[in-house]
């Protein structure tokens, strides 16, 4: 390791399943103590990457180390330093919440007393202390996932892997799990989480790697990523078609852009850097000039649009954070 310590370092990972390419040279560098997002659509290779880094799957090419240990040659040491919460929630519904944690504690080779103590600590830490004797079968999705997280934290791992931790949860469950991940991150654990939600990466991650079709596209901070994806759009729906031109000019003047005037939908759309500022000024101006509007709002490109932009080459990697993989 040169100077900086990477909690996770991977170079040129390749993996094929029966001839089908799953990873085509993925690079990844995560500094210790940070939360790193692996963002990509379904089939991008996120799970495969996580499986390689957690010693579950052999790699075809490339090298990877986790917590300073080579995942191929030092898999035992790697396993002692990681926690994994896989894509599915892996808790035993026939055991109680506490029994689950004790069982995993025993398998992590804590003695009986230590396993019990650790189970109680983790139940409290994850806000499950009211439900220790209940089966996770009756838990909400968020509670199940938190128990699942707790089970991967028994040895306080240096590096924690979370594969789509909130997929399938309702909004309340997502918030609970986010809160749990944030609290863990403040204790110094390095976290690699995969997601296909841009907002999740935005809320939790220090840096994000976007991958698709087994290759890196961009690596950046969430803020930088949003900048690349494009500005917010201010969209104003005009009540009377004969006021459309005037409204277009008005929006153009205030936002300092060249807005798109849609004559079929009766809308005026303009890209804006400061959305809230533009929205309030335009709203005030249309009222002062008596332009009738039926709706006004801000819109971001949807994630699908963003992926399309990020991965079809229409977004040019900027700055020195761009990785080789994004040049095609």
């Amino acid at each position: 390791m040169t100077g900086r310590t990477w909690a996770i370092e991977a170079h040129g990972l390749t993996k094929r399943y029966r001839g089908k390419v799953a990873l085509d040279g993925v690079d990844l560098q995560v500094s210790a103590g940070t939360v790193h997002g692996l963002l990509g659509p379904n089939g991008a290779g996120k799970t495969t990457t996580v499986r390689i880094l957690t010693t579950l799957t052999r790699v075809d090419g490339g090298t990877a180390s986790v917590a300073g240990y080579d995942v191929q040659r030092q898999s035992r040491q790697v396993r002692r330093n990681i926690g994994l919460t896989g894509q599915q929630t892996t808790v035993d519904d026939l055991l109680s919440a506490r029994q689950n944690l004790i069982m995993f504690g025993r398998l992590f080779r804590l003695d009986r007393a230590a396993a019990r103590r650790r189970a109680d600590e983790l139940l409290e830490f994850f806000g499950l202390e009211e439900a220790p004797g209940r089966s996770p079968k009756w838990f909400s999705g968020g509670m199940r996932r938190r128990l699942d997280l707790a089970a991967s934290l028994i040895l306080a791992p240096k590096v924690l892997f979370l594969d789509e931790p909130t997929t399938g949860l309702d909004p309340a469950g997502r918030r609970e799990v986010w809160q749990a991940i944030r609290t863990m991150a403040t204790s110094g654990t390095t976290v690699l989480l995969t997601t296909h939600y841009l907002d999740e990466a935005d809320k939790l991650c220090d840096r994000v790697s976007v991958i698709d079709r087994g290759r890196n596209f961009v690596e950046d901070t969430p803020a930088g990523l949003k900048r690349r994806i494009g500005d917010e759009q201010l969209e104003v729906s005009i009540a009377h078609p004969d006021q459309l031109e005037r409204a277009g000019a008005l929006v153009g003047r205030i936002t300092g852009t060249d807005p798109v005037v849609d004559r079929e939908e009766n809308t005026v759309t303009a890209p804006v850097a400061d959305g809230v500022e533009a929205l309030t000024s335009v709203a005030a101006a249309v009222r002062a000039e008596s332009v009738g509007i039926t709706d006004i709002g801000l819109r971001r490109p949807t994630l699908d649009e963003a992926f399309l932009q990020l991965t079809d080459g229409s977004v040019q990697p900027v700055g020195d954070t761009a990785l080789e993989g994004s040049k095609r």
Binding site: R51, T54, T55, L56, T57, R58, R76, R79, R80, I82, L84, G86, Q87, Q88, T89, T90, D92, L94, L95, Q99, M103, F104, R106, L107, F108, R109, L110, D111, A114, R118, E121, L122, E124, F125, F126, G127, S135, A151, S152, L153, L155, A156, E176, Q179, A180, T183, M184, S187, G188, T189
Partner: protein
Amino acid sequence: MSKKNTGIQDADAMSPRGLEPVETLASRALWAVKDCWTIVAQEFTHLVRQPGTFAWQLGMPVIMVLMFVYVFGSAMDVTGMGAGEGYVDYAMPGMFAMTMAFGLMNTAFAVTLNKEKGFMDRFRSMPMSPSAAVTGRGVADLLHAAIDLAIIAGLALVVGWRPGGNLAETLLAFGLLLWLRLALIFVGVYLGLLINNTEIAGNLFAVVFPLGFISSVFAPPGMMPGWLGALAAWNPVSSTANAIRELFHTPGIESFEVQYWIDGHAVIGALVWPALITLAFVPLAVRQFKNLSR
């Protein structure tokens, strides 16, 4: 959610406790046993918390016992002593052997379920003995089979079956039954690892039913049409069933015609068949386990 620090950091001091830095071969073996036992304990907690599943798995042999004794039994004349005569004594040992054969499905299903639910992956990402997930299953199933046998044998006693041999012979008979079950555990583990989802594992009925029925469990193979009789005679389940009939001194079996060599050497068959199955399926299961990381 509580924000205070509850040991996530200071647990660093906790982590080395159970993990000696240098692992010798002996300590690895010891941990393999301990980890295996943790999984066995998990399986038995399941039984305690959900006895219904246990009852459900036993339901099939229990219904068969009752059906064959009270519904068909009175019409069956396998011993040549007259319809219904001696059928309980003939059928019960068969039922024991069949219970062992059907256990194959439970093993395979449980292994597939563990894989499907992600337990296999979670276990393999932990610093535990990697094989414990599978060996624990095997030991739990063997203990489970012993309990099954005790219950079915109890039921058999109730419907009038009696072992005719001495204590040593009777114990040897139950030993042979568990020996067959052990071999089938390896088959079950292999199939469970091979199969990718529990829906397919549910269809193992199609494999296990012929294994159970095309045998000497309900009727002597000598009474079946030629090719089917040959299949039934050489079925490992038949060897075990016939061997334990000898050990239980089941009345009437001396009169069965010896058509194939195996008919006259049931005890040898009951010892050798499971050994051969084990020799074949242990390497297969190990290979399949290694394939998980493909």
